[in-house]
């Protein structure tokens, strides 16, 4: 149906062109302001062999992008001589065309003047009109053809509606990569981490729970802080950050919330969890409920203590500060991703004389937490809290793996520093090092 409509439109277009009569597109002035079009008007010539027509583009190439999913072809070229100062007619744009798979073998198109092909409108499809940006410019265009076959590309330099000399390139086809080589370093990191975790998991199973993990003061203080809240008869305030649930800091915070809720339930205290993201609230509610169930006090759980305040940053801050001022929690725990509200929350908690434990991997907010809170869990420690609290060998093994990977990383940093220092006068070797480990950097 759509093909029939397209044919009708095409026929109507040609009929209009015929009615309008042959008009040479090279008639300057008349066509200077007109937009390039495809199919070309009846009688238009490609400029090949026409004196004064804009010259072809330079260095035309077409090929699949590296590590592509098989959907794109990149076309690149350099400016036509018709863009130079004083050139007449001056190139104003480039008309990029793609051969139509129905035309036949694409190899047959190479070397032929597209204007002489019959029916020429069917031989090529317009991809895009690219505006000229000045002499010496380099152009690139990403084409995403619907079909995966070989194509010939043709680029016309256009002076208004005047067709310059075309350049053809091809055949080119899309290329499906089964592996993104740009990400090899990330893949290697994950692989090494996976191997290390597996190794230490095995070790942990052999040695039981005797796996040394250095003490983290902020985590050790949690039990004490919750106990203080219990003794004072005041609630514990837990803020799981202000980011979406898919953020790893939020995930880490939610995992810790389970442990905190369990401890709160064991001590018979109350926990309040104000949330900025509704989905975080829904999950927090479930996690806190699980914590109370694990502690054997499911009835003590109050679902309304896990509340959605607002998804606006400062409205959320105002609401949470209101809870701190009104309910006077004895312990405030801020774990997750925070931004400008970090200091507002922590300072309000300080004024309220709460014990405050904060943790984030957000570097810009760490100084604020360090200044205003009693204990601060810094960067990677946030991701270790859940394992640290549970003391389960299978979780501690991942902490061991992280530590050993860090040792490898330090060796790599030393190696990189030595390399870059030794070859300080050889930029090519320095660039080779960077290209190897950080392609595209």
């Amino acid at each position: 149906m759509s093909e029939t409509v397209a044919k009708l439109v095409k026929s109507a277009m040609f009929a209009l062109i015929l009615v309008a009569g042959p008009a040479s597109a090279l008639a300057e002035g008349e066509a200077a302001d007109a937009e390039p079009q495809w199919p070309p008007p009846e009688g238009a010539t490609s400029g090949a062999g026409v004196a004064g027509a804009p010259g072809p583009v330079g260095n035309l190439s077409a090929g699949a992008p590296k590590y592509d999913d098989g959907s794109a072809i990149d076309i690149k070229w350099t400016a036509s001589a018709g863009e130079a100062e004083g050139a007449s007619p001056k190139v104003t744009s480039y008309l990029v065309l793609r051969s139509n798979p129905k035309t036949g073998p694409v190899a047959d198109l190479i070397g032929k003047d597209p204007m002489t092909l019959a029916p020429r409108a069917d031989a090529f499809t317009m991809v895009k009109v690219v505006p000229a940006t000045g002499a010496g410019s380099e152009y690139s265009l990403r084409d995403q053809p619907a079909k995966k076959t070989r194509f010939v590309y043709m680029v016309f330099p256009m002076a208004g509606a005047v067709y310059g000399r075309p350049a053809l390139v091809g055949p080119a086809s899309t290329d499906t990569a089964y592996w993104n080589g740009h990400h090899w370093l990330v893949a290697l990191t994950v692989l090494i981490m996976g191997v290390l975790i597996a190794y230490f998991l095995g070790q942990a199973k052999k040695r039981g729970k005797e796996m040394y993990i250095r003490r983290i003061a902020g985590i050790d203080a949690m039990d004490e802080a919750i106990g203080r809240a219990t003794e004072m008869g005041r609630p514990v305030l837990y803020v799981p950050g202000v980011e979406e649930i898919q953020d790893l800091q939020t995930i880490a915070s939610i995992l810790i919330l389970g442990h905190v809720a369990e401890t709160v339930a064991k001590y018979g205290a109350e926990i309040k969890v104000p949330c900025m993201i509704p989905l975080v609230m829904a999950i927090s509610e479930e996690v806190v409920r699980e914590g109370f169930v694990r502690a054997g006090h499911p009835d003590a759980h109050k679902p309304r203590n896990i509340m959605f305040i607002s998804s606006e940053q400062f409205a959320f801050t105002a609401g949470t500060n209101g809870i701190i001022i009104r309910d006077k929690p004895a312990t405030n725990i801020y774990l997750g991703r925070f931004f400008a509200e970090s200091l507002m929350l922590a300072e309000t908690g300080y004024i309220n004389r709460s014990i405050q434990i904060a943790g984030t991997a957000e570097i810009t907010q760490l100084p604020f937490f360090i200044a205003a809170c009693d204990y601060t869990i810094i960067g990677e420690e946030l991701f270790a809290v859940s394992a640290y609290l549970s003391r389960e060998p299978r979780l501690l093994s991942s902490l061991k793996a992280t530590d050993y990977f860090k040792a490898l990383l330090i060796l790599f940093i030393v190696f990189g520093t030595v390399w870059m220092t030794y070859f300080h006068s050889d930029p090519a070797r320095q660039a080779a090092f960077m290209d190897l480990f950080f392609p595209g950097s």
Binding site: P278, I283, A371, S390
Partner: protein, 329 residues
């Protein structure tokens, strides 16, 4: 099985597909990964409804039982309802079927017996809010008493009656809109084409609907004149919080706090306008060194550690090693 194993399997599947979308371009992995992300967005959108319900569940009992500070809760609930109401495109429900009426009369009282009656007609626009812009044949009708300002309604405009080559009267296009003063407009637009005979009169009465919804004026007014100033006020408080926190943090107690105080003083001196005047001195270069060497080294160490921690926790969750969110073992 349903409570533990299924969530673990789902987590594994989604985690692996997400990671594969990053590493494997082929086989539609990127698309599948993107589709799963879309699922996440839909779930997050649904959670907003839960958030709204939670706000009502938490705050209404406080208002009903007159708990401390119940008045604030009431203001908050009323504000939420007000924003919700103006945020809906309610005008689409009560928009009139016809946006206006046109009454055409072959004779205008204003033109009877005047020489203009031979080739002139009158267009009257009435019934719409006074300060809307009326264009007749694309030309704005302005107020002669207030240069550049649109004429106030009811307005009477004299128009020439012209005919085309076939002898047919060329119709006049009357457009009433709110584009002159406010962006976006308060009212929807009305356009009508009228054929008038010489000496005749047409009365146009637009029935324009007041626009609501996120692009409507009430919503924008609430945002610009209530929400934005309140937001700015909260943000401005940060300056005072920073001062009080800095006062405590920079108190000279031991060697470490002395180093912190010294570094802070140097950096502050270099940042203030006076510091720029001292840009050639060793003091300024020292503060630049503090910012560009030890600070950057510390930041990078934290960033690298955090990145590794993130990879580790990601693997723990995907591989099912971390189960505390599912209630432990």
């Amino acid at each position: 099985m349903m409570k533990k194993t299924l969530p673990l399997l789902l987590t594994f599947f989604v985690g692996v597909v997400g990671a594969m979308g990053y590493f494997v371009p082929a086989g539609g992995m990127t698309k599948l990964s993107s589709t799963l992300n879309d699922f996440g967005i839909i779930i997050a959108a649904v959670a907003f409804v839960l958030g709204g319900i939670n706000i009502v569940q938490v705050n209404i009992p406080i208002v009903v039982r007159r708990r401390p500070d119940w008045g604030y809760k009431l203001v908050m609930l009323l504000s939420a309802v007000a924003v919700l109401l103006v945020g809906f495109r309610l005008h689409e429900f009560w928009a009139p079927a016809q946006k206006g009426t046109v009454a055409v009369s072959p004779v205008s009282d204003l033109l009877v017996g005047t020489p203009e009656a031979a080739d002139t007609a009158i267009i009257v626009v009435d019934g719409a809010p006074r300060d809307l812009l009326v264009k007749i044949d694309g030309k704005a009708v302005l107020d002669p008493a207030r240069p550049g300002e649109p004429a106030r309604m009811p307005l009477r405009a004299r128009v020439l009656v012209e005919k085309d080559a076939a002898g047919n009267v060329i119709p006049h296009v009357v457009n009433v809109s709110d584009t002159a003063r406010t962006t976006p407009p308060r009212y929807d637009e009305y356009e009508v084409s009228i054929s008038l005979v010489a000496g005749g009169e047409a009365t146009v009465k637009p029935k324009l609907t007041y626009l609501l919804g996120p692009e409507g004026q009430p919503y924008l007014w609430l945002f610009n004149y209530i929400f934005a100033p309140c937001n700015a006020t909260m943000f401005a408080l940060l300056a005072f919080f920073i001062t009080s926190a800095a006062f405590r943090a920079f108190r000279l107690r031991n060697v470490e706090s002395g180093l912190l105080l010294g570094a802070a003083m140097l950096v502050m001196m270099g940042t203030i306008p006076l510091g720029a005047e001292l840009s050639q001195t060793w003091l300024y270069r020292l503060q630049e060194w503090i910012l560009s060497v030890p600070t950057v080294a510390g930041r990078r160490a934290i960033m690298m550690g955090a990145a590794l921690g993130a990879v580790a926790i990601g693997l723990r969750v995907i591989l099912g090693l971390e189960r505390s969110h599912l209630g432990g073992d």
